[in-house]
């Protein structure tokens, strides 16, 4: 499998941190997904071999957790919290707005692969809701119009940068 030297090194240093190899399945999946944007069948087999477990042991983890994907995530991953505190603060309205502004259906990845837009459950930032996680960055208090603009700009910027490197 084709992985960057950097990812391979992370993998090699992570496995020995655990008393049992199988425990490294989640970190390995994280490393692979962050490089390849999804977990391919090839990756499942590769990780299984690396950790001396059966591919099904990797697949059961991939299919359980919402974060792991068997289809490619968009260049930018946008998650809107829809749980109660954020919902009370207007998360659903915000979701509509983002659908329109990004021209992307909620729960989907845009055809050009630039953006994945989804609802997610409580992001542990309920006091400043509604909140959105854009890749690794949290945006808060998004019921205030002036807060949404800069986030949208950032999403579009990242989406374009992604397209340029493809």
């Amino acid at each position: 499998m084709n992985l960057s030297a950097e990812t391979l090194e992370k993998i090699e240093t992570t496995i020995p941190k655990y008393p049992e190899k199988r425990s490294a399945v989640m970190p390995l999946l994280h490393f692979v997904q962050s490089e390849q944007k999804y977990i391919s069948n090839e990756a499942i087999e590769w990780i299984a071999e690396k950790l001396e477990i059966e591919p099904i042991n990797v697949l059961e983890v991939v299919t359980f957790f919402p974060y792991y994907r068997q289809e490619k995530l968009g260049t930018v991953h946008v998650r809107v919290c829809r749980t109660l505190s954020c919902a009370l603060m207007g998360a659903y309205k915000l979701g509509d707005e983002l659908e329109k502004a990004l021209d992307c259906k909620m729960g989907h990845t845009k055809e050009d692969g630039s953006v994945t837009l989804e609802y997610g459950e409580c992001l542990a930032a309920c006091g400043t809701g509604p909140v959105v996680l854009v890749d690794e960055d949290l945006y808060e208090k998004l019921n205030q119009t002036e807060a949404v603009g800069p986030m949208l700009e950032e999403i579009k910027k990242r989406a374009q940068a992604g397209a340029a490197t493809e």
Partner: protein, 445 residues
């Protein structure tokens, strides 16, 4: 006099002079507790934590010292410590503050706890949705290792222990301690049945394991620094120390507040600024989405038969228990007269339906059907008898499952219906389609 915060764990967190770096922490006397602890006997430290009355901040409120005393020390197997930073109970965001703003306090608490329990390897299980938190922790551990505060032969004491950060992948059930352990082992996070799988005896890799919440472990630092006598002066009997309450929803000043026990009125008005202009509180979900709602107009009766109002509820473990709910993860969600209670329930049930691990039929099917029925009450297609159906169904979930999450799908349904029955009946009978609080497409059917 207006009630105010009492900042101990969050003393420095939001101050301008402070950063998550080790230098900042050391400047404020950081790691003195660890030095002190390393000079003591582990069993004395365990005794001190027990005497401090420190209770778990993760959900159940079990005594930290007693939990530690249950660890099987005779098996000869390694003992593990896991810090639970899965923080995914709706309404909870305190661990996020502690990890992002003062990671070394947590690391010091973990190292003291590890030393007290002869732990040779500790883990932090942090939810995937806190990628920055994971990075901050990794960096802090490196800083601490460079100063010989983590790793081999800590400060020349002969004691060694490392910390590994383990990231989740978006599943709420990893917060449940045995689900968390399965996940750490690289499997699906299906909670284990107790007995026999009490972590203190059969935990990670079938070895004795301690699972503690972030806030609990941070408190250990202060128990050691202050000593039992000083620490037990904070709070009240059975509820020692401060607690960080996370307040969200329909209130003027949402946020996280570290307080000693005070009344609900003092807390919601003095500390949180009261309701939004022109609104009235309807109630509060006191300890994360799983917990029973407390109605603002309700009259409560304690075990001795004394009645008290919502305003008089004491905001701590025992005070909220006396009102018939639980302080849980201290995530307080406030609803006001603009909130449609049925829609609120539909939102909450959608969460638990999404997060059920699917192992137990009552939880898997029950959570799904509560979601479907509450959704149709909001979006059309409900029948008048749905309210009773929903209520009965909830009564058949809790207590019949592997893990306590069965109750998370039960308690909201039961308590919302018991306390706001009229609203449920009128919604089911009218079979209205319009949504008041939310947008209809957003309650998933």
């Amino acid at each position: 006099m207006a009630a105010v915060e009492r900042k101990i764990l969050l003393k420095h967190a939001d101050e301008d002079y402070y950063s998550p770096s080790i230098d900042s922490y050391l400047e404020q006397g950081g790691y003195e507790g660890l030095k002190k602890a390393l000079a003591e006997k582990p069993e004395d430290l365990r005794e001190a934590v027990k005497d401090s009355g420190l209770r778990g901040r993760g959900g159940a409120g079990f005594s930290c010292g007693i939990k530690w005393s249950l660890v099987d020390r005779k098996s000869g197997k390694p003992i593990y410590l896991i810090c639970n930073c899965d923080e995914s109970e709706p309404g909870t965001f305190k661990d996020r503050q502690l990890v992002h703003k003062d990671p070394h306090q947590l690391i010091e608490g973990m190292m003291i706890s590890a030393f007290a329990n002869d732990v040779a390897l500790a883990f932090i299980y942090i939810r995937e949705e806190m990628p920055l938190g994971a990075k901050i922790l990794e960096k802090a551990i490196e800083e601490a290792r460079a100063k010989n505060l983590v790793g081999e032969n800590i400060l020349g004491s002969g004691y060694s222990c490392d910390i590994v950060v383990h990231r989740g992948a978006g599943a709420y059930i990893c917060g449940e301690e045995t689900g968390l352990i399965e996940s750490m082992e690289g499997k699906r996070p299906y909670p284990r049945i107790k007995p026999p799988f009490f972590p203190a005896v059969l935990g990670l890799y079938q070895c004795p394991t301690i699972v503690n919440n972030v806030e609990t472990l941070c408190n250990v630092v202060h128990v050691v620094n202050m000593g039992v006598e000083e620490y037990t002066k904070i709070g009240r009997h059975g509820n020692t120390g401060t607690r960080i309450w996370c307040v969200s929803g329909m209130v003027k000043n949402p946020g996280y507040y570290e307080i000693e026990p005070m009344t609900m009125k003092e807390f919601l008005y003095d500390v949180c600024g009261g309701p939004l202009p022109g609104r009235k509180f309807k109630g509060c979900i006191p300890g994360g989405g799983s917990m029973k709602i407390l109605g603002a107009e309700e009259t409560y009766t304690d075990r001795e038969g004394k009645s008290f109002s919502f305003d008089e509820i004491i905001v701590d473990y025992d005070g909220i228990a006396a009102a018939g709910s639980m302080s849980g993860s201290s995530g307080m969600m406030i609803l006001d007269d603009s909130t449609d209670i049925v829609e609120a329930l539909a939102n909450i049930t959608a969460f638990y339906a999404h997060e059920s691990c699917g192992q137990c039929t009552p939880c898997r099917e029950g959570s799904l059907w509560t979601k479907k029925i509450t959704a149709r009450m909001c979006t059309g297609g409900a029948r008048p008898q749905d309210v009773d159906l929903l209520y009965d169904m909830a009564g058949n979930i809790g207590g019949r499952t592997v893990c306590p999450m069965g109750y998370s799908t039960t308690w909201p349904v039961q308590s919302y219906i018991e306390k706001f029955r009229d609203e449920f009946d009128s919604k089911a009978q009218a079979n209205e389609c319009g949504m008041k609080s939310f947008d209809e497409r957003l309650i998933e059917k």
